[in-house]
């Protein structure tokens, strides 16, 4: 019987090679033709795409740039770009901290044995995650805060915080004397290192002898006492600039302008609803068998929560929560609606309108977000790898 020869076009290797070359050339052709039409369109409209506008002076004002000094008539476009990035990072960090705290609280209340509390948390979650974020931002900013907050003279006070129609005034720390401050930081670092050693030793001795010491409490005590004592001994190396009500407005201190405050508020509420749901799902994912086993080997309630529930729940909670942090950062671009000066507003908005350099500006904005996204997935992968190693 003669062996029938398989024709070459039936060979999977050759076919896959052919398909890949075909798709690649198609995609390259598409990109190339888009590139060519773009170039010819730009020439037709008389737009010269170049980065030379970076060093031009930006002819508009940026009200809020706490990290870089803004000077109308001096600040260049590239500095505007940096201010935008920094402001995005600021709102991202503020939002992440607040929404994590609020999200964990709501998630735990959702699991409370108390029926009423649990239902209230459910309503909170279902209401806030099913209404568009943009609508929430506009609602809080235009319909609530702008309409109801009092003028600076009648600010609402929480301790040293003052809330009024212009924003939230906060005390800001500042360093009086570099040398004393650095010395204080050095003492704090040394104390922290000591605390870490103490807890390592406590863990080791627990593994050897089984004697559990309240080491967290000791560390907390040591750290607070030493920090306070050294602060007093050094004569207050860190001072606080507290806002004081002047004739019309507050003087001194820091200010979160109202758009930032409303954006922060809305982002926090919106994201916390998602985080609360993650927390609930994570804690309920720990099977009852685990709790029963913990009970049967005689662990008490605190031990069960600390050693059985939290480690297993965290493994489920953290990955989606990190994605929520990325979502929050991306969602901060909605600031454009209320006028907080982050990267999309000042760069892809005002700067683009002023210079007309659409290609470069949009590309740079996208690159900034892509970097943040890559950073987040890098962190996620690292976390997942760490969790996988602890698994059997």
């Amino acid at each position: 019987m003669s062996k029938t020869k398989i024709p070459f076009y039936r060979n999977p290797k050759i076919r896959s090679l052919f398909v890949q070359i075909f798709v690649l050339s198609l995609v390259s052709f598409l990109i190339f033709s888009i590139y060519q039409t773009t170039v010819s369109n730009l020439i037709e409209r008389g737009i010269q795409t170049s980065t030379s506008f970076f060093d031009d002076v930006a002819p508009f004002k940026i009200g809020f740039s706490p990290f870089l000094d803004f000077d109308l008539g001096k600040t260049t476009y590239i500095e505007v770009f940096y201010i935008g990035i920094l402001n995005t990072i600021l709102i991202a960090i503020l939002g992440i901290i607040a929404s994590t705290i609020l999200g964990f609280i709501v998630g735990i209340v959702r699991l409370s044995p108390n029926w009423l509390a649990s239902k209230c948390a459910l309503v909170y979650i279902e209401v806030f995650r099913n209404v568009p974020l943009l609508l929430q931002i506009m609602f809080w900013n235009f319909a609530v805060f702008l309409a109801t907050l009092p003028p600076p003279k009648k600010s609402i006070e929480f301790g040293f915080l003052y809330l009024n129609s212009r924003g939230l005034h906060t005390p800001i720390p500042y360093v009086e004397d570099e040398l004393r401050f650095n010395f204080w930081i050095f003492i704090l670092l040394m104390t922290a290192v000591g605390c870490i050693f103490l807890s390592k030793w406590a863990k080791k001795s627990f593994e050897h002898t089984g004697v559990k010491r309240p080491v967290f409490f000791y560390n907390f005590l040591i750290f607070t006492i030493l920090a306070t004592l050294s602060y007093l001994a050094l004569g207050g190396p860190l001072e606080f600039d507290i806002p004081v009500l002047g004739k019309f407005n507050f003087k001194g201190g820091g200010q979160l302008p109202l758009p930032l405050f409303s954006l922060w508020f809305a982002l926090t509420i919106y994201t916390s609803a998602f985080i609360a749901e993650n927390v609930r799902a994570g804690i309920s994912s720990v099977s009852t068998g685990q709790l029963e086993a913990a009970n049967s080997i005689g662990l008490n309630r605190t031990q069960t929560i600390n050693m059985i529930v939290i480690p297993q729940a965290m493994r489920v909670i953290i990955p989606p929560t990190i994605s929520q942090f990325l979502n929050l950062t991306k969602n901060s671009s909605l600031a454009v609606a209320v006028g907080y000066e982050e990267i999309v507003a000042v760069w892809a908005g005002i700067s683009l309108n002023q210079t007309g350099q659409a290609v470069i500006i949009i590309a740079m904005t996208i690159i900034v977000y892509e970097c943040m996204s890559l950073f987040t997935s890098f962190m996620l992968n690292m976390y997942n790898r760490k969790v996988q190693i602890t698994e059997r």
């Binding site: 369109n41 568009p132 943009l134 609508l135 904005t365």
Partner: protein
């Protein structure tokens, strides 16, 4: 002696009154311990503080009658639903249909057909669901365009530039899901392909769109899209937004479908290969029908996110539901009643999203138990 006489089955005694009924329930769920009781009191106080005033404002003191702002101005203690009533057509169907009341049957019919198609899809026992879904995703868009856009059968054209309100929100979201689904399936297959170049291209595409916020993509679509096409090809703003949304959504759909593909056992693919099926036969007849069924909840979830995100088109100046209610509440006639506008738009968004998310949660639970019984 007859045994049956000795063991006469007595009727069950009722459970002790302390374990059933409203009092026992209250005791168990609200006052089981001191902390529990304190929590209950705290939450009752919070509800008492906020909920009755809200209902007073929104319902009992609210203004429903009249056709201009004089009534609302006279009674500031209640919400001004007169505003919503007067501007209802505009908020739901946009400026064109609000100014041509004789044409308003078109979006009403189009949306009613959608609802009529959707109801049997949600009911569990409907036969031929697959064909219904395919009808909804292929033929229905044509019906929608014929009715709402017009141009055929003597129906006057309503330009997309004049679309607005809930109709525009619906159109954007629906276009997003209809066009993104096939692209997303191709991308998901590409991402799991064994050919390195195809895989790399799919991954790049998916991660690129997923890493950027939609608002940047919409800016890009409205500023840069005209540059990408030869001069003479013109899109209006709505179509540009639709293109941006489709590109964005296809990446998310791809990830949802990929989740389904990953859940299919490798044996399925191997068995179909052993039967001599080719790549496309294998995927179209064996893998995808199973994978898509599993990924429906995640696709619905990405669709909920998209539905909420369509509100971003108001930043590039389209009059969707959010922007329409904002614009209406800032008009001279109704200036100052923006809370009512936001609440109305928010309620419609909430109702749609909550409905979809309950459906997808139900489906998830069902799929979950199916997986366990196997």
């Amino acid at each position: 002696m007859n045994k049956n006489e000795v063991f006469i089955k007595l009727p069950d005694r009722p459970p002790p009154s302390s374990t059933v009924g409203i009092i026992a329930w209250t005791q168990k769920n609200l006052f089981s311990s001191t902390t529990n009781a304190l929590t209950t009191i705290l939450f009752f106080y919070l509800i008492y503080l906020y909920i009755p005033p809200f209902f007073d404002w929104a319902i009992f003191n609210a203004n429903f009658s009249g056709s201009d702002r004089s009534i609302c101005d006279a009674n500031k203690a209640g919400a001004c639903w007169t505003f919503i009533k007067v501007r209802f057509d505009q908020l739901l169907f946009g400026l064109y249909f609000a100014s041509n009341p004789d044409q308003i049957w078109r979006p009403v019919v189009a949306l009613s057909i959608f609802v009529l198609l959707l109801i049997p899809l949600v009911i569990e026992k409907t036969p031929h669901k697959k064909w219904l879904l395919i009808f909804l995703l292929t033929i229905y868009p044509i019906i929608f365009i014929t009715l709402v856009y017009g141009g055929y059968f003597g129906i006057p054209i309503s330009n997309t530039t004049q679309w607005g309100g809930f109709l525009l929100t619906f159109a954007l979201a629906f276009v997003g899901i209809v066009l993104a689904l096939p692209i997303g399936i191709i991308l998901a297959l590409g991402r799991r392909s064994e050919m390195p170049i195809i895989r790399a291209l799919s991954v790049t595409y998916i991660e690129f769109w997923r890493g950027t916020p939609l608002i940047t993509i919409l800016f890009m679509a409205s500023v840069m899209l005209p540059l990408f096409f030869p001069s003479g090809v013109e899109f209006d703003k709505v179509v540009r937004a639709m293109i941006g949304i489709t590109l964005f959504q296809s990446a998310y759909t791809a990830e949802a479908v990929r989740g389904g593909l990953q859940a299919i056992d490798k044996g399925q693919s191997e068995a179909s290969m052993a039967l001599g099926m080719g790549y496309w036969q294998r995927n179209v007849f064996i893998i995808l029908p199973q994978a898509l069924k599993i990924s429906i909840p995640s696709i619905v979830n990405t669709f909920i996110a998209l539905f909420k995100d369509t509100s971003l088109v108001s930043i590039i100046g389209l009059l969707d539901l959010l922007n329409m209610s904002q614009t209406a509440s800032r008009s001279l006639d109704w200036n100052g009643y923006d809370i009512e506008g936001y609440l109305f738009a928010g309620f419609i968004f909430w109702a749609c999203c909550y409905g979809m998310s309950s459906y997808s949660q139900k489906l998830e639970r069902k799929l979950d138990t199916e997986g366990r019984t196997e």
